[in-house]
Assembly symmetry: C2
Homo-oligomer: 524 residues x 2
């Protein structure tokens, strides 16, 4: 695939004006081939207007048509896997194996969400039949359906250049919902973004979709993002990134004349609670499991466990010693960008300078290359150093030693919202510590037992979202079929004859979807 | 029931300090018995802290327990109907028949939402079974459930002193979800609010609920509301009222350190489209139907049709003449408060002074007494006078005469978000004007065919919410069982043994609720 370095504005290309930027190979800090031109104000305006036009057509597509478009995107990604993985590896330093896996996940996601559109899982169809004889007033026929909200802007994530970028989870959710998408490409992997964008556009063209259902805009500054969020025809935002970036978008969206929802997945330190009995039973195994979860992919996962609570004592010391050995022996890895690596260095330094925090394994940071870090402290220190709850994005974790069960519970109370919370416990301990589960339910979107939080399964029951600041709105998830609902709104039809109803609500259920009929869920 | 005029702070009463206010009888402008003391900062703090404490217990109640509490509230309301209706009539000038009907609706709502908690309709339970043999990685067991968000603040509405006030739709939604509620009583019906509050508290006590699940705070200024919305332990807001008030709460909530969602149902002019053929067939009947919908309850409904589109010509003239006669012959009615009536007068004056707008029936406004108004204009004038889209809360409507189908469509494009949109059409016209339906879907939460929008059915399929400014978030409804979902967030449980799972997610489905199991909805 040939890269032009120009935004994809519907079926056209953006203007070749402005100062271009290039991608960087984080492995050797060399500039990669290709000039990428930031989108102009005109590109933004055209992309949004095309999306709004496309909405009137695409929003009427049924689930089968949407799914076939999404399946075709997946096919094209698979057919071009080699080129995608090659460029992705150069731009992100993620291994070809990891990128191959991520590509598979991206394709699965597209097909899985498409299938949810076909079965009507996300149509939320409801039918309440009329009752003309009801007293004191007759009951009208009321039917409702979840309908797409309108054009959605997706900000590509740096750490999932495929699964949470151009054709990633947010885009798949929006397309499954029937919303046109405008992607703001992440400037760290513009070439990969353009490749995927070209394929999405090809699939859209083949499917006969209006050109505006997909645009891809480049920019290495904030300008294009700000213009997109402020545009009156944009109706929703999907974002994966930093807390500061996400909050800035939330604030911007909230002050629009017409405020719109921002679904920002921002930051999480994913606390792990290792209860005393299980720690006694397998300190070495737990240290190995935690080490692997913390250092996997150079720690660049939103679900990376950055905080571990144990009960202080000999067992904890043994565990810390084992974990420290593993961390110290971890080979440094190349992070996604020099900027991310510099921020990791700063975070690690800040932690090591916090009074009362012991540094057990030292991270070496040079260029984009980062080593693993391990810190330990007492609960008392944790309670009075709020900064210890700031996310350190990278292969680092902090072990907090609690002197009692009460101290562990008090620490939970102090936690901000999280994507995940993990408990390691024997069956007996789980019963004794049941209060920990109910408390963590209020703090995190996903509770994991006797496993580690990294690795987010794409399934119906997944919640990848949690109370602020994990996500902008803890009532949403950005992974799993529930993610589609973020871009839908209910519309009711009262007193409509069958012929005038959307197919999803026609009496005979011609689409064969799940529906709530007079309070009972049915598909036949 | 004896009124004390003090806030209900859990099981206690608020402080008797500060300058009290009284209720007013809008029918004669006389002060009603009872001094009501505004909540103090301490009352607010206690109420919220009690609610947060209560949450840890109440959030663990299953649907059956929540429903039985809600059923008991309904029983107590019914048992005290006479006193409630009597005081309500004095405070609001709504007729006893209307208040009796509203009380019945309130009780139905409590029972209906409680039933949804029992059947698990709003539990959103999902189970994805593990697959240890999946390649390349084993699939974990993931289950998810919608869990309550935390303490909810409800602002009572003036125009539904029962169904959208202390024990109204927002409170019923929050209780069904498992959230404690703090109600900010509307200052126009404090006595009615106290009566209902006493009964809710009694039901909570009888059900063995923690005292903090319900508090009721009085205030005739904004202070208490602002403190509540800013309080870090408050997690969600329900509001029914003006656009200005709702937006102020949205802005306040968005600028908190932890932003929270505001579900504000604010303003709507509920456009009605009467297509040419049906208007020709029954101009008199349509005039009568519209007149009744506009003037019912002195026009004090959020679904009051304030804007009517017809095709200009002889038929339209005939229709306007008929409607004008009916409006002119309408006896003036007493509005909820003098303030509301004054605002109505201002709105009507503003409209009559808009160049190009003809006044067909004149509203007399005196004290709290308001007559009906009818205005007419051409589409051209409508297009260039944005103020004609401002809600005039009361028995007034504006008929816009379009010279063509295109003009009617252009008018729709210009509309802001609405709660409802209504079409009157013959079957043939409906087919010809199908584009009108798809366009209106993007503008309103409920489409009504050949009927009028007033009267909101409480059912599963109801949407009472629409794009901003109809509601803060067009993805929500404040009526129907979907309203409960506003106060829920998904939580996933990964790799949990059966015994440690919430009952809703245990393999054997002990609660017999609806669940999505490996992509199939089941209850058995």
């Amino acid at each position: 695939m040939e890269l032009e370095g120009l935004s994809l504005v519907g079926a056209k290309r953006g203007l070749r004006v402005g100062k271009p930027f290039a991608a960087n190979n984080p492995a050797n800090n060399e500039r990669l081939p290709g000039d990428f031109h930031p989108a102009t104000a005109q590109d933004v305006e055209f992309a949004v207007r095309l999306a709004a036009e496309a909405f009137s057509v695409f929003s009427q597509w049924n689930g089968v048509k949407r799914a076939s478009l999404m399946n075709r995107i997946a096919e094209l990604l698979e057919a071009n896997a080699r080129a995608i993985v090659e460029r992705g590896n150069l731009e992100t330093a993620l291994t070809p194996a990891r990128l191959q896996g991520e590509l598979a996940r991206t394709c699965f996601q597209l097909r899985f969400y498409g299938e949810a559109a076909v079965t009507g899982l996300c149509s939320g169809a409801r039918i309440d039949h009329a009752d003309p004889n009801r007293k004191p007033l007759p009951k009208p026929d009321v039917r409702s359906l979840l309908r797409p909200v309108g054009p959605v802007v997706v900000f590509g994530a740096s750490n999932f250049p495929l699964a949470y970028s151009v054709a990633g989870g947010d885009t798949a959710s929006a397309l499954a919902a029937g919303c046109p998408v405008i992607v703001k490409a992440h400037p760290a992997h513009p070439g990969l973004s353009e490749m995927v964008g070209i394929l999405v556009r090809q699939a859209a063209r083949e499917a006969g979709a209006p050109e505006g259902i997909f645009s891809l805009l480049f920019d290495d500054s904030y300008e294009t993002g700000v213009e997109l969020v402020k545009h009156p025809l944009v109706k929703s935002i999907g974002f994966t990134g930093s807390r500061r970036g996400g909050r800035a978008l939330m604030d911007l969206a909230a002050t629009r004349p017409e405020p719109i929802p921002v679904f920002a997945e921002m930051s999480s330190i994913n606390p792990v609670f290792i209860l005393p009995e299980i720690l006694k039973q397998k300190p070495v195994e737990l240290a190995a499991g935690l080490h692997s979860s913390v250092t996997m992919g150079v720690g660049q996962f939103c679900t990376n466990p950055g905080l571990v609570f144990v009960q202080s004592g000999d067992t904890a010391n043994h565990f810390l010693q084992e974990l420290g050995k593993l961390m110290a022996a971890t080979a440094p890895g190349i992070m996604l960008t020099e900027g991310i690596c510099a921020a990791y260095g700063t975070g690690v330094n800040k932690m090591s300078e916090t009074p009362g925090v012991r540094q057990i394994a030292r991270a070496d940071v040079a260029g984009a290359q980062a080593g693993a870090s391990l810190f330990a402290t007492e609960a008392k220190t944790f309670f009075c150093s709020h900064g210890l709850m700031d996310e350190v994005f990278g292969p680092s974790t902090l072990v907090v030693e609690c002197s009692s069960r009460e101290e562990m519970f008090a620490a939970v109370q102090q936690l901000e919202g999280q994507l995940t919370a993990t408990i390691h416990a024997t069956p007996g301990e789980l019963a004794t510590y049941h209060g920990l589960v109910t408390l963590l339910e209020t703090k995190a979107g996903r509770l994991v037992l006797n496993a580690f939080p990294t690795g987010v399964e794409v399934c119906h029951a997944m919640t990848h979202g949690g109370p602020y600041p994990a996500t902008a709105d803890g009532r949403s998830t950005s992974v799993g079929t529930r993610a589609i609902e973020r871009f839908l709104r209910p519309v009711s039809y009262q007193n409509f004859p069958d012929a005038a109803l959307p197919d999803e609500l026609k009496e005979a259920n011609p689409l064969g979807i799940w529906r709530l009929v007079d309070g009972r869920l049915k598909r036949d």
